[in-house]
Amino acid sequence: MPLGPLPAAVPPSWYLTLSAILFALGVLGFLLRRNIITVFMSIELMLNAVNLSFVTFSYVLKRNDGHIFSFFVMVVAAAEAAVGLAIILTVFKNRQTLEIDEVSTLKN
């Protein structure tokens, strides 16, 4: 069944604004929070914000590319969650801390 037009109550710009707000929140959380878990969640938030804009543009432009992209992003996000959480667990096991600034062996 072809997609009919949505009720005109929510214009696409709102979705995009929401997406921008979510993305900005993700960026801020990523930069400002110190807990690795929170940072990790911020990354997920950014990914989903991007997904939202993909879907919105896909709808506006009446094309499927955006949907396909968002699926890819979800797959990547899932993989990333698996790997990322494993890393976080190992870091915690080795250092008994999740302070992100403590993990700076690259420098020293």
Partner: protein, 638 residues
Amino acid sequence: MQLWLIPILPLLGFLLNGIFGKRLTKPVINAIAVGSVVLSFLWVVKTLSALGAFSGGLEETYKEHYYTWIQSGALNISVDFAIDRLTAVMLMVVTGVGALIHIYSVGYMSHEGGYYRFFAYLNLFMFFMLILVLGANFLILFVGWEGVGLCSYLLIGFYFLEKFATDAGNKAFIVNRIGDFAFVLAIFLVGFHFNTLDFATVMTQVKGMPIEASAGLFTAISLLLLVGATGKSAQIPLYVWLPDAMAGPTPVSALIHAATMVTAGVYMIARTSQIYLHSTWALDIVAIVGLTTAFVAATIGLAQNDIKKVFAYSTVSQLGYMFVGLGVGAFSAGIFHLMTHAFFKALLFLGAGSVIHACSGEQDMRHMGGLRKYTPITMVTLLCGSLAIAGFPYLSGAASKDLILEAAYEHAPWMYWVGVFTAGMTAFYVFRAFFLTFFGEYKGKHAAGHGHGHDDHGHGEHGNGEPHESPAIILIPLVILAALSLGGGFINIPHFLEPIFPLQEGEPARWLEYVATAAGLGGIALAYLFYVVSPGLPESLENTFKGLHTLIYNKYYVDEFYDSTVVEPVVGGSRQLLWRIGDVRVIDGLANGIGTTARGLGGILRRAQSGYIRSYAAWVIAGTVLAIAYIGFMGASR
């Protein structure tokens, strides 16, 4: 005819002794070193007799082609050996005298360290010298030319623990570079204009060319070749290395710096005589260079006290005679003198070696004297050599020297008179050395211990005071060479070389010969008067002509002059300009500058690498923002 066997045999000797010498015993080393040269000599004799050189044959050049070495465009240089009558003379001299000196060295070097090294070098020298003589084109000759220079350097610096020996080796090598540079330029000129380096081809082409058409070219080539020859054959202005080269062991002085290598320049000019004949101007310069060298070196020889130095300057002087012979067009007389000189000068050096051996390493003639009681055989052989070089009638030196002087008279009488005067001086200084050594009372130290001469390595161990006669292995070569010095004049080289160098017509005046002989005998008589009859006379003469004596005793200060005009500017320039500015500032500055720039840049960039994940993230975001801003302002490129 397997010409390649001639040089290959000494090369094999070099390889065997050079590689395995350390583990071989002395008899084995001797057998390899002497055997290879003697075999080479025998092969030369066999080859030459097969070619008919001893029975009037070998009028044409016999040539063997081995392989093409360099092929580039029209230029084709191959490895060829050739024998003509000129080469035949050189081959006989080089391998014959070389073999005798090898035998002598067995006795002379028996107490020295580095025994196998010495013979390896000596064999290598023979190899290169034979390459030089056999080479059928300029490049092969040049290979030998450079090779003998290398061996000369190695053997002068044989006592490499002594600074004066290494210095002398360096001097010989560097001075020869100047000559070799000119020689290379000459080879380039020949290759450029004739498109071949083959002697026979070039000479045939030159023969057919009119003199007027390309006199400039021939003058340039022959003058450059002359500069090369002055380096190798120790002529003015490049003769300064040869007296210092006496720092090497005495057999080396005899073989390389008297009999063979230093005559390479004479051989080379004779080999390229066609080019010289097309430039009379260059020939004149050859004669003048030779005459000046003969005269100047003879005057220096008058006042030297080191017996080897006397003979060294004598060698320079005699080489000058050969150049005079070449320069006045009497090429065969020059080659004749080359051969007789090889006999008597090798004899003089080997005899001097025997004397030095007898005096436990002493080289200063003022500390010798009276040796006729102790070393009778050495004395008799040295007397033969001295008489030969002094021009005693019918001996080898007289025969060749008179030919040169007669040709010089035909060319320009004043050259003859200078030559005769030089012959008188030659006789005087050689007999001065002879009388100082063998007559009077023994003035050396009777105490045991090391002499302080240049050659004292190891001789001290039997330095029990009394001078002693040398062993038979040293005396046998001396006796053979003495016989050659006496009778060498009867080998009619000018006649033998007639197919290559046509003899001039006409009989020279008899009085020329008589005057030359009289000059030689007068020199001998004067030396007898000065050093036997009234030994006080030289000293009073020295005091009368103090300035002159100091001047020639110090060799006209030529070394000092070269030091201040050439050596010091070059060294100083290298130090101040090339080292302090060129190397330190420019090259080091460039390299260090690149390093400093990279460090500075890295110092700035490494601030970005804080190690904090969040700061990296901030950079990523800043980069993203910048990229987006760029795209936003400029529009995405399409």
